[in-house]
């Protein structure tokens, strides 16, 4: 019987942890309550690989403990923003243990919105309103500052005009017709990296980025803004974000192009002038880009 040889095998990377740790955090200021519901994925990389190599578990911090750490830190430090909480978890793990070399924490926030009527906020009732999802990711090596990304995803927007697509490359297999006026629908995914992690108002930065994306997409409310392509709108959004939010160093945006096609009703004797459209979710176009600030020399 052949024995497995480990001599021609080497590690590329290892990591382990707990996924989908969920908590609802309530902060009470008198009768006015604040909530944050989040889902956390925490991954650790240890100094030694003996757990993988020999089955020696003495270094392994159980994933159950990792879950407990998330719970305990929510209680002890509270959750003001998911970014700060992620950094708290990361910092705790790297400082409480001497043999963890790297931590990765991903957190997603549930989109609860406080009920409000005529400008009056409800003290403690919320409604689930998934018009956009907020998430963040912290990656930190031992003895280094954390690298923090925040993001927004599943923000679906649509506009019925001020979008076109012309002048594209044509070849033998191109059948697409040029369009001067089409619907533009996309589900925005944006992820950005911060160049500083202390003294940053993460809520305000996240809102700025989200609003900038919407602003660039929609344009002025009375007449909109023409988009010659998803690529152009995407790039313009990125430049605007970098301009407005100095803490953002780099931003990636992915915009799928969810198509709506005019339904041909001529066979029914009807002329459909782009009034009744067919939403076709697959296949969908997918456009992405990442830009960062040019490295600036420091005075």
């Amino acid at each position: 019987m052949a024995t497995t040889s480990t001599q021609n095998v080497e590690f590329v990377r290892t990591g382990y942890g707990k996924n989908l740790v969920k908590v609802l955090y309530i902060r009470r200021e008198g009768t006015h309550h604040y909530i944050t519901e989040l889902t956390a994925n925490v991954e650790l990389t240890l100094k030694s690989r003996k757990d993988y190599l020999t089955g020696d578990n003495s270094d392994i911090i159980p994933t159950d403990t990792v879950k407990n750490i998330v719970h305990a830190l929510a209680k002890l430090k509270g959750v003001l923003t998911i970014e700060q909480f992620a950094m708290d978890i990361s910092k705790h793990v790297l400082t409480a243990f001497k043999h963890v070399t790297r931590v990765n924490v991903k957190i997603e926030e549930a989109p609860w919105r406080r009920l409000e009527k005529n400008g009056v906020e409800h003290a403690h009732a919320f409604i689930y309103s998934p018009e956009s999802w907020r998430f963040c990711e912290v990656e930190q090596n031992l003895n280094e500052s954390p690298i923090l990304h925040s993001g927004v995803k599943n923000m679906k927007v649509l506009k019925t005009t001020q979008s076109g697509f012309e002048g594209f490359f044509r070849d033998r297999f191109t059948t697409l017709q040029e369009a001067k006026d089409r619907c533009f629908c996309t589900s925005v995914y944006a992820r950005w990296r911060y160049n500083k992690v202390q003294n940053v108002d993460f809520d305000s930065s996240w809102n700025s980025v989200k609003e900038t994306i919407i602003e660039k997409f929609a344009g002025p409310y009375d007449r909109g803004e023409y988009s010659p392509s998803v690529q152009k709108t995407l790039y313009d959004t990125q430049v605007m974000v970098l301009d407005r939010v100095p803490e953002v160093e780099e931003i990636e945006i992915v915009m799928p192009n969810q198509h709506y096609f005019n339904i041909d009703m001529t066979k029914m004797g009807l002329t459909n002038n782009n009034e009744v459209l067919l939403p076709l979710d697959n296949p969908s176009g997918n456009i992405m880009g990442t830009v960062r600030r040019k490295l600036q020399a420091k005075l």
């Binding site: 902060r27 009470r28 200021e29 008198g30 003495s58 270094d59 911090i61 403990t65 305990a72 830190l73 002890l76 430090k77 509270g78 003001l80 700060q84 950094m87 708290d88 910092k91 705790h92 400082t95 409480a96 243990f97 001497k98 043999h99 070399t101 790297r102 090596n141 031992l142 003895n143 280094e144 500052s145 690298i147 160049n195 500083k196 202390q198 003294n199 108002d201 100095p246 160093e249 490295l295 600036q296 020399a297 420091k298 005075l299």
Partner: protein, 465 residues
């Protein structure tokens, strides 16, 4: 309140039980130290910008306790109406009564400035090896005071000073500062800074501040040193602290303006430069009576007017301000002129050479920038910021290997610290960019893991001792 469970005023002859526990832990320490339940309290709370801060001792030198966090969620009614403690305790200098605790126990501290209608209070939480009972009494008192602070409180009375957000800021001091008790820490720190030993300079200056947090000059020098050390956030916080204590400190205002310019805070930088003129005896008469606006164009005009006054000689500091303003308005040629003018008076000033270089670089003159940086580094080889800038220019010129070498040199210099220094995140980020352009994926991966030794080996850089 959980605080009551903590070891309080115990004058026990066996010493403080918590200390006993931790000394025991030190003995039992293995490579993989399990997280024991007492150390559920062990949280490094100094990073909590919104939370109270606490500094008891633990066996893990990097981990600090914040039992205080347990009371964060108290109802407002529970908090009572305790007046905020005046900073009187903060200003008593630390007498180095040295009852040294066991090895392996260490502390750090964080000085918080609390916004309060312009009043500035330093909550001075300080761990020093005093006698056990004194130490714990002090801790207990500090904890109880801080427990009453609600981390949601926003203090917006009074004009908001430069770049202060309602979120609290703090300076993050080093743990294990070997110079904590050093008698003339400030002078030595200043000297080290001049010598280019930025690591030790920072530690000494921090020690001086721990001994006397109201020493505005120490904060000022710490600020400028951290900027040279490519640690902009620390520089900004330090300089702001200095200005809180001494609002018309001209060098601090200028240095702050530079740092704010670097971080893209244009409006705040203009305000700092405006204040520099306001408080400058030579030029303050130029200001119109009423509070003049501090928009970029107006402030530039002011500085240009001021420059015209100097018929018999260039004021290098004024020219520096002009250089910064022209950088803000992207008029790089004029900025270069201003810095050159300043350099004509102070040709040995390495900061000016770096500023000239950075201006040239940001104006797309990378080759000339390299020359300027080289001059700066010749005058001051330990000038981390200039080496970082040099690396960036190398990238812009396509010399990725040289760029990486420069970044590695800087990181290695930062690493050679007696206390555990964290290396500049900027420099790591720039290094990763340089490596990504080199088509050496294994090196890029090493950079992602923070493996400085491996990278230095790859670039044939021996460990510089």
């Amino acid at each position: 309140m959980v605080l009551k469970e903590l070891p309080g005023k115990k004058a026990s002859s066996e010493g403080n039980p918590l200390l006993t526990v931790t000394t025991k832990l030190v003995g039992e320490q293995q490579e993989s130290r399990p997280l024991l339940s007492p150390s559920i309290d062990d949280f490094l709370s100094e990073s909590r910008i919104d939370g109270p801060v606490v500094r008891p001792v633990t066996s893990n030198t990097a981990v600090l306790s914040s039992a205080l966090d347990l009371v964060d969620l108290s109802e407002p009614s529970e908090r009572g109406s305790c007046s905020r403690k005046r900073s009187s305790s903060a200003h008593t200098p630390r007498a180095p009564e040295s009852v040294s605790l066991d090895s392996g126990i260490d502390c750090t501290m964080c000085v918080f400035g609390l916004r309060g209608g312009g009043r500035n209070q330093f909550q001075h939480l300080f761990c020093s090896p005093q006698s056990d009972t004194e130490f714990w009494d002090k801790m207990q008192a500090e904890w109880e005071e801080l427990a009453r602070r609600n981390w949601l409180e926003e203090e917006n009375d009074g004009p908001i000073p430069l770049s202060i957000s309602p979120i609290e800021k703090g300076y993050y001091f080093h743990t294990n500062n070997p110079y904590k008790e050093c008698p003339n820490a400030f002078e030595e720190g200043q000297q080290k800074a001049r010598d280019g030993d930025l690591n030790n300079a920072v530690l000494l200056l921090e020690a001086a501040i721990l001994q006397d947090p109201s020493d505005s000059e120490a904060w000022q020098v710490l600020g400028t040193t951290q900027a040279e050390n490519e640690n902009e956030q620390a520089a900004i916080v330090s300089l702001q602290r200095c200005l809180d204590l001494h609002h018309n400190n001209l060098p601090a205002l200028m240095a702050l303006a530079v740092s704010l310019t670097n971080t893209g805070m244009q409006q705040d930088a203009c305000e700092a430069l405006h204040r520099w003129i306001c408080h400058n005896p030579r030029y303050k008469h130029l200001l119109p009576g009423s509070r003049s606006p501090s928009q970029l164009a107006e402030v530039k005009g002011l500085y240009q007017e001021a420059a015209l006054l100097n018929t018999d000689g260039v004021d290098p500091d004024l020219q520096t301000g002009l250089g910064v303003l022209f950088n803000l308005s992207s008029e790089f040629d004029k900025a270069v002129e201003a810095f050159n003018s300043a350099l004509s008076v102070r040709p040995e000033d390495y900061l000016l050479w770096n500023r000239l270089g950075a201006t040239l670089a940001n104006g797309d003159h990378s080759e000339e920038a390299v020359e300027a940086y080289t001059r700066a580094l010749k005058l001051q080889p330990g000038f981390i910021r200039s080496r970082y800038n040099l690396g960036i220019s190398c990238i812009n010129l396509g010399a990725h290997k040289e760029a990486a070498s420069n970044f590695l040199t800087a990181l290695n210099q930062q690493r050679q610290s007696q206390s555990h220094q964290v290396m500049s995140a900027n420099i790591w980020a720039a290094l990763r960019i340089a490596l990504s352009m080199m088509d050496r994926p294994e090196l890029f991966q090493a950079a992602n893991l923070g493996d400085l030794d491996r990278l230095m080996k790859a670039f044939e850089m021996g460990r510089v001792m």
